[in-house]
């Protein structure tokens, strides 16, 4: 059934907002962070108002309620992502999740000369941890290039790069190009070489139902705030085999069975990795976000909706003099991202001029500088679409962009 976009929009209070300049907000910065439905905001507020207490630490009623809510959320989020609660580690972000792969798995399993493969399409979160670990451990780091005509990964080059590797780390969806990588093919390629596979799904999970156990990846990172949940929380999904090979990353309280002056005995499973006071309000909010998505969103219909808007925008924007659209948002599997530049209006200026019309887009290198370099640019403007955007908003955006170009171009 097609999305009832008006009903969806009515549940996001921020979308009703008028900006200080009197313009109505049109939010096209969803790849940076999505807005939150009222149910999420209310759930977090309810936690702080009615049952806030530190989970897993006391025997009083509030602590019991808080613990039940935290773990109940883990159960629902893990099921939503196609796995079980034992395979899900709460992290502060998708970036922290990729760092957990680097420092909780690779540091315990890779040594000098071992090979990690990543790509030049990645967010810095899937490049910098590997560079740092490479310096620390003498690990060889191989980068798979992009095909600069198709704006996809070069899978032939990937096949070669994966040979003899121990870990392959690939983004599910590019945050700059919106291209959906063939992660199923990458997982097969990597596993055929005996390598473990980490998928950065920060941009994938908001647009596509994840079935982690069926997918067969060893690790998969997710950010709550890009899929209707709160900021400050994400997770790393880990296969049972890979989890058994991991060791502690951040250490301290919560993750220990016993500490003496002679040493520490750590918890097992996901409990080994969640040190410090848990992100309770955030987990509760995220749990409600996935409930909300389950109840309100058919992901296949959502993809059609998002892709049709982005595709229409890209097609129209290519006709505006001086505008270059990067990649192919028109492709059926592309995921709602339109990166563009004007040849004389500087990207930051264009971002502010769009904002003057009420349109929120991202401007910059999008934490993907190697990709920017491969594309031959320093930054882009990026409009990114999600479930609550409408074709009317897209039309208004293109009209405003045309007006900017005619005045300032």
């Amino acid at each position: 059934m097609p999305l009832d976009v008006e009903l969806i929009r009515s549940q996001f209070p921020i979308l009703q907002r008028t900006l200080p300049n009197g313009k109505k907000l049109v939010y096209f910065d969803n790849a940076a962070t999505s807005q939150k439905p009222l149910a999420v905001i209310d759930a977090m507020s309810d936690f702080y108002k009615n049952y806030h207490a530190n989970a897993h630490r006391a025997n009083h009623t509030l602590a019991d309620e808080s613990t039940a809510a935290l773990e109940g959320a883990r159960d629902r989020i893990s099921k939503f992502l196609g796995t079980s609660e034992g395979q899900m580690i709460y992290t502060g972000s998708a970036t922290e999740a990729m760092n957990l792969v680097a420092y909780g798995w690779a540091r315990y399993n890779l040594n000098e000369g071992d090979v990690v493969v990543t790509t030049e399409m990645e967010h810095h979160a899937n490049i910098v941890p590997w560079q740092e670990l490479s310096k620390e451990r003498g690990i060889e780091l191989r980068y798979v290039p992009i095909d600069t005509e198709k704006f996809t990964l070069d899978y032939d080059a990937m096949e070669v790069a994966i040979e003899g590797s121990s870990l392959v780390c690939v983004g599910h969806v590019s945050n700059v190009l919106g291209v959906r990588n063939d992660i199923e093919r990458v997982i097969k390629m990597a596993h055929s070489q005996g390598a473990r596979v980490a998928i950065d799904s920060a941009q994938g999970a908001p647009h596509e139902k994840i079935f982690f156990d069926d997918l067969g990846a060893d690790f998969l990172s997710v950010a709550a705030h890009k899929m209707g949940g709160p900021t400050g929380i994400g997770c790393l999904l880990v296969s049972k085999d890979a989890l058994s090979e991991m060791g502690p990353f951040l250490t301290g309280g919560s993750i220990v069975k016993r500490v003496s002056l002679e040493g520490t005995q750590f918890q097992e499973g996901y409990a080994m990795f969640e040190t410090g006071t848990p992100r309770m309000a955030e987990a509760i909010g995220w749990g409600v976000a996935v409930d909300w998505l389950e109840e309100n969103i058919d992901f296949e219909e959502a993809h059609k909706h998002v892709q049709s808007i982005a595709s229409w925008m890209a097609t129209r924007m290519r006709k505006i003099p001086g505008i270059t659209v990067f990649g192919f948002p028109e492709m059926e599997e592309a995921i709602g991202v339109v990166s563009f530049l004007h040849d004389t209006i500087q990207a930051q200026d264009l971002g502010y001029l769009l904002d003057a019309g009420g349109f929120a887009v991202r401007t910059g290198h999008h934490c993907a500088q190697p990709l920017m370099e491969a594309m031959g640019v320093g930054s882009t403007n990026r409009a990114s679409v999600w479930i609550y955007n409408t074709m009317e908003e897209a039309e208004a955006f293109v009209t405003h962009l045309e007006s900017i170009v005619s005045k300032f171009g």
Partner: protein, 142 residues
Amino acid sequence: MGDSDQWSEEVTSIIDRFQSCFDTMERYELLFEYANKHPSSLAIDEWDDENMVHGCQSRAHVECSLDSQGGFVAKGGADAQIVQGLMAITAIAVNGLPPSEVANHDPSYVEEMGLSQILTPSRANGFMNMVKKVKEEASTLM
């Protein structure tokens, strides 16, 4: 808000022009206009690490000196026209003044122009860093 008596006739006239703008887009148009008539622009081949303004989202550079009469000259350049426009107005405000006055420069005319509406925290920060650099260089030229 600053006291409008403290600004030169030229700055007061700029304030009037911005205050008569209908909306944010018109203010941007005006800023682009000032960007194109920077009184002392810094050519791109003169941009270097030493004259770079940190804290701007765009690339921005300021170089300060004294003219033959001992008046202050702030040369500036930026890749973003909005930043270049802000630089141009700052140059109009400070060029020709004794460095001792520039060292105590109050940029609150920007608020009078209604530009605070369009100065987001990151860009306001960049603008304030540019003003800070101008004031610091003025102090060394006193």
